[in-house]
């Protein structure tokens, strides 16, 4: 049965990338603990609007953990703390207690400038994919889907790599602001499949070059990324990325 909790929410306000930003606080009363975190923020906004204030801005969309839009840093953890990894929208208030102070911050990384409050610009991820995260094929000209057999293990592993939702929690958690987990997941997915092997060398070089150009940091293997990844991507992908890169450069 649902019980109600009351707590203080401390949320980040920032008007554009150049603004210094500050925290606002608000008391929340009698929130049912089967409310999702974002629904709680909806209630907060309803209260703010009723007070004539501007609502708290944050990114969200599908609210079922797959679109990767939601991006809040809650009490020191991207997406909030859960055991098996979940996005902010899948975080429920039963994980909090009566009387808590809940601090909500944006992803903080040089490559993700703040647009407003906790909404950040993650365009850099798109640019990395545009640099090579695809197979260059022409629509309608593909051969039969079963023409190349792919071992189940490889397909399954590629699927795990492809599960990345591009939310940016890995960058947010990394003390180096590195995007290696994101990049490695895409590189790994395509490197594991015969369809992706054709362009593997070109892809990894271009994507890494773009990642560096956009100002992401260097990976120092702290594993903070995989600890917070809502889709449980692992640093085995990063090892594969490194391998692919070294292989590609050796062949130059």
């Amino acid at each position: 049965m649902a019980k109600n909790i009351s707590f203080t929410i401390k949320f980040w306000r920032q008007n554009g990338p150049k603004d210094a930003g500050h925290f606002d606080t608000h008391e929340m009363h009698d929130i049912p603990d089967d409310t999702s975190f974002l629904e709680m923020l909806d209630i907060l906004n309803e209260e703010l609007i009723n007070e004539g204030k501007e609502p708290f801005v944050f990114d969200h969309d599908c609210r079922e953990g797959i679109c990767g839009m939601c991006s809040l840093y809650i009490n020191g953890t991207p997406h909030g703390l859960t055991e098996r990894g979940a996005t902010t929208c899948q975080l429920y208030m039963r994980r909090f207690n009566d009387g808590d102070v809940i601090t909500v911050e944006p992803w903080r990384s040089a490559a993700f400038p703040v647009i407003k409050d906790c909404m950040v610009d993650r365009n850099a991820f798109d640019k990395i994919i545009q640099a090579g995260g695809y197979t260059t094929i022409r629509t309608g000209q593909a051969q039969d889907a079963n023409a190349i057999l792919i071992p189940k293990e490889d397909a399954d592993e590629a699927m795990d790599c492809a599960s990345c939702i591009g939310c940016g929690a890995c960058v947010a958690a990394c003390k180096n602001g590195s995007a290696m987990l994101f990049v490695s997941s895409k590189v790994s997915q395509l490197a594991l499949l015969p369809q992706g092997r054709v362009e593997a060398a070109r892809r990894v070089k271009n994507m890494i070059a773009k990642m560096d150009e956009l100002g992401f940091g260097n990976c120092t293997n702290t594993r903070a990324c995989e600890a917070v990844c809502p889709k449980n991507e692992t640093i085995a992908n990063i090892a594969r990325l490194n391998r692919e890169m070294i292989k590609a450069k050796m062949a130059d």
Binding site: K10, G21, S178, G217, N218, T222, R223, A227, N242
Partner: protein, 243 residues
């Protein structure tokens, strides 16, 4: 030059130099263990590594490795701080406690402790031995008598403590550094990551135990190579006894 320009390239440089330095430590440890058993044998090795051309070249190479490793560490850290941006989190990261190794987040600090230890160590030994031989001076013992320098150095308890702290820092640094290097070189994966971590931990622990045993052996005078005392009662002040 992708080794300079690319993030993965720079990390590869760190890994390769790091692994090379671990190999050097392995060699150094083996040499120290020789000292545990025979001062004469140890001095023979020291002589081999005196101011000969090949030893000098090797020393230069070694120094280059260390310098590259350190310089790259600073470059990478500077870049990473920049990538992190200017705004800091109000609540510092609590990412699933226990999932992030402490050492992995403090490699630079550990590295700096190691660097300080290294300078002391170079002063204790290299300055008095190889450098003295080149420059043509002697400091207490003959530059070729490494064994005497060991006995000398490790008879002072503050130095012993310093060395032990230094070893601990190196242990932490390498405990992360070994598998991290393998990871960066791509010699890791879902299964191999655990193997590398396990192997690295055992290897580094044995390595640092080797160094520790030598230091303590000389401090407490238990090293078999010290059995110059006729009655074997030389544990109190080994160095004095042997003179």
């Amino acid at each position: 030059m992708w080794l300079l320009n690319s993030s993965i390239g720079r990390k590869v440089v760190m890994s390769v130099t790091g692994i090379a330095l671990i190999l050097f430590l392995t060699f150094h440890c083996a040499m120290n263990i020789v000292a545990l058993f025979s001062g004469e044998a140890y001095n023979t090795i020291c002589e081999l590594l005196g101011a000969n051309w090949y030893a000098l070249v090797a020393t230069m190479g070694l120094a280059a490795l260390a310098v590259i490793h350190i310089v790259f560490a600073f470059i990478l850290t500077a870049q990473n701080r920049k990538a992190r941006g200017n705004s800091r989190y109000e609540v510092s990261t609590t990412v699933n406690p226990g999932k992030v190794e402490w050492a992995s987040k403090n490699m630079l600090v550990l590295g700096l402790i190691i660097l300080i230890g290294l300078l002391v160590h170079l002063q204790n030994f290299w300055y008095n031995m190889m450098f003295a031989e080149i420059a043509g001076f002697t400091n207490g013992h003959s530059p070729a008598d490494g064994f005497a320098f060991i006995i000398d150095t490790f008879s002072h308890w503050p130095l012993v403590v310093l060395y032990l702290v230094w070893f601990a820092a190196i242990w932490f640094h390498l405990a992360h550094g070994f598998w991290s290097a393998m990871q960066t070189l791509g010699l890791s994966g879902k299964i191999w990551l655990k193997r590398m971590q396990c192997f690295g931990l055992i290897y580094v622990t044995l390595l640092m135990l080797g160094f520790t045993v030598v230091v303590l052996g000389f401090y407490f005078g238990c090293a078999p190579s010290l059995d110059c005392c006729p009655d074997g009662a030389c544990c109190e002040a080994a160095a004095v006894c042997c003179q």
